[in-house]
């Protein structure tokens, strides 16, 4: 029962922190994108426009909740809730410090992959239940995309698992504390695996260059075309939370998690997570969108063989390198 109370308390705190981070993350992204394009970004609400996200949330919640007449109503309503659940659920096993972790599962890595991978089902359900051709196309693209990036994502995550010999995420961080960060040493499976994970994570959270299901220049707004108000904001939110949790998982699996000198572990973990989160925005505002077939080609013909090679290399490292364990 003690573990249940601990999990619930930390869960609530972590969810609140994630949501606050996302609110300011959206502000940061708009400022960042503005500066990249010689604009100022939001300036009106609060000092430096800091409260812009909160104004946006209030605006979205006030909007009319529209369910299209020919839509599959129950599924249409359920999809955004499920999407938010999947995005937040993956955070349950992420260790933000040796103690700040909602549930230190021994299969943490599998949990992250499973819950994160479920995201495609509410996305498709939203696209299909809208009964709108653009939304349906977006949903189809989401499914096709998920079939493609899933394998490289799992293969990339297997590298730290094989090197550290555990699937408990806090165990992987602890291994990196006593050895090296996976992304640093051994360089050959480590660094490319980190890059592979980041690419697949961008695809999983539907971020540019892989925001193919949304593709606002082709599909209006893809799966979210028919959504308004609170339901739309849930989708919007879950996309950001998914990216944030993906960045946190990347820092834990590849960048040593809470490991770092001079400051408490929580600070290091936050710093690494937010750096990766900002990197995603940098990519987002720098690159163009891939075509659906280009993504599949990239995932199946380049990233999957690379992932297999990396898994073999890490197995060889564990087997043959002196003092690997």
């Amino acid at each position: 029962m003690n573990a249940l109370v601990h999990g619930a308390l930390y869960g609530v705190v972590i969810v609140l922190c994630l949501l606050t981070t996302v609110a300011f993350g959206v502000w940061f992204e708009r400022k960042f994108a503005g500066r990249m394009q010689s604009r100022l970004g939001p300036t009106r609400v609060g000092p430096y426009g800091l409260l812009q996200s909160f104004a946006d949330i209030i605006k979205l919640l006030q909007k009319e909740d529209i369910i299209p007449a020919d839509a599959d109503g129950s599924l249409f309503t359920l999809a955004p809730v499920l999407a938010a659940l999947c995005a937040l659920g993956a955070a349950a096993v992420v260790p933000f410090s040796p103690t700040v972790i909602a549930s230190d599962l021994d299969i943490g890595v599998v949990w992250v992959l499973a819950v994160g991978g479920l995201m495609v089902i509410p996305t498709f359900a939203a696209g299909w239940s809208s009964n709108n051709k653009f939304a349906l196309l977006g949903g189809m693209r989401a499914v096709a995309q998920s079939v493609s990036y899933g394998v490289p994502l799992v293969l990339a995550v297997l590298v730290p698992v094989i090197l550290s010999g555990t699937m408990r995420i806090s165990g992987i961080v602890a291994w990196q504390t006593s050895h090296h960060w996976v992304a640093v040493w051994p360089v050959i499976p480590g660094l490319p695996a980190f890059g592979l994970y980041m690419l697949a994570m961008l695809a999983e959270s539907n971020r540019i260059p892989f925001d193919i299901p949304e593709a606002e220049s082709e599909l209006v707004a893809g799966v979210t075309t028919e959504y308004t108000g609170a339901k739309f904001s849930l989708f919007y939110l879950s996309e950001y939370v998914h990216t944030l949790v993906g960045s946190a998982v990347a820092s834990a699996l590849f960048l040593g998690g809470w490991d770092g000198p001079f400051a408490p572990g929580l600070h290091w973990m936050a710093l690494k997570t937010l750096t990766l989160f900002a990197l995603v925005y940098w990519v987002r505002w720098s690159l163009l969108r891939f075509r659906s077939d280009q993504l599949m080609d990239l995932c199946w013909r380049r990233l999957t063989p690379l992932g297999v090679a990396l898994v073999l290399a890490s197995a060889a490292w564990v087997q043959f390198a002196p003092g690997a364990h």
């Binding site: 992959l113 089902i121 498709f124 359900a125 299909w128 009964n131 189809m140 998920s146 079939v147 699937m167």
Partner: protein, 186 residues
Amino acid sequence: MTSVAFGVVAALTLLTALLVVRVTNLVRATLWLGASLLSTAGIYAMLGASFLAGAQVMLYVGGVVTLMIFGVMTTRRHEGLAAEAESTNTGRATAVSLALFVLLAWAIHGTPGLDVPATNGVGASPEALGRALLVDHVLAFEAASVLLLAAILGAAVIARRRDPGVEVPKPGSRAASMPHAAAEAP
């Protein structure tokens, strides 16, 4: 407490499984199948087989259901939300399901050691599972993968024979992204 929770999850599994076969809309049936597989994972987790539960969610709900949606969406003509399931061979389907049920029930009944209560998942840790699959029963494991490979090849052959007009697209060309080509790939 535990038995109540088990009852709820088991009831959910059965209810959703029933909905899979009773719902006439194929997309909805597939989504119900996802819910059913998710509840099955819940039963695994309650028995202490957390790795098995995670793998079930990752591979079946995240993978197989996604592929089935892909299949439904790429092989049928759609007007709006309609995707009606056509059950024309109820008799044969009943016979096959009954035969499968009898076979499974016989196999499960004949397996020794199932009448003792689960000992908190000691035998189902990832390590024990990996050892059982890749050391103790490696031959059966590999035979199963060969069987699956044969099934994939068979499916590809059958799909191609039915549709003789389909040319094999060059990998990487635009045609490779066309639905009929992609649907064969998995």
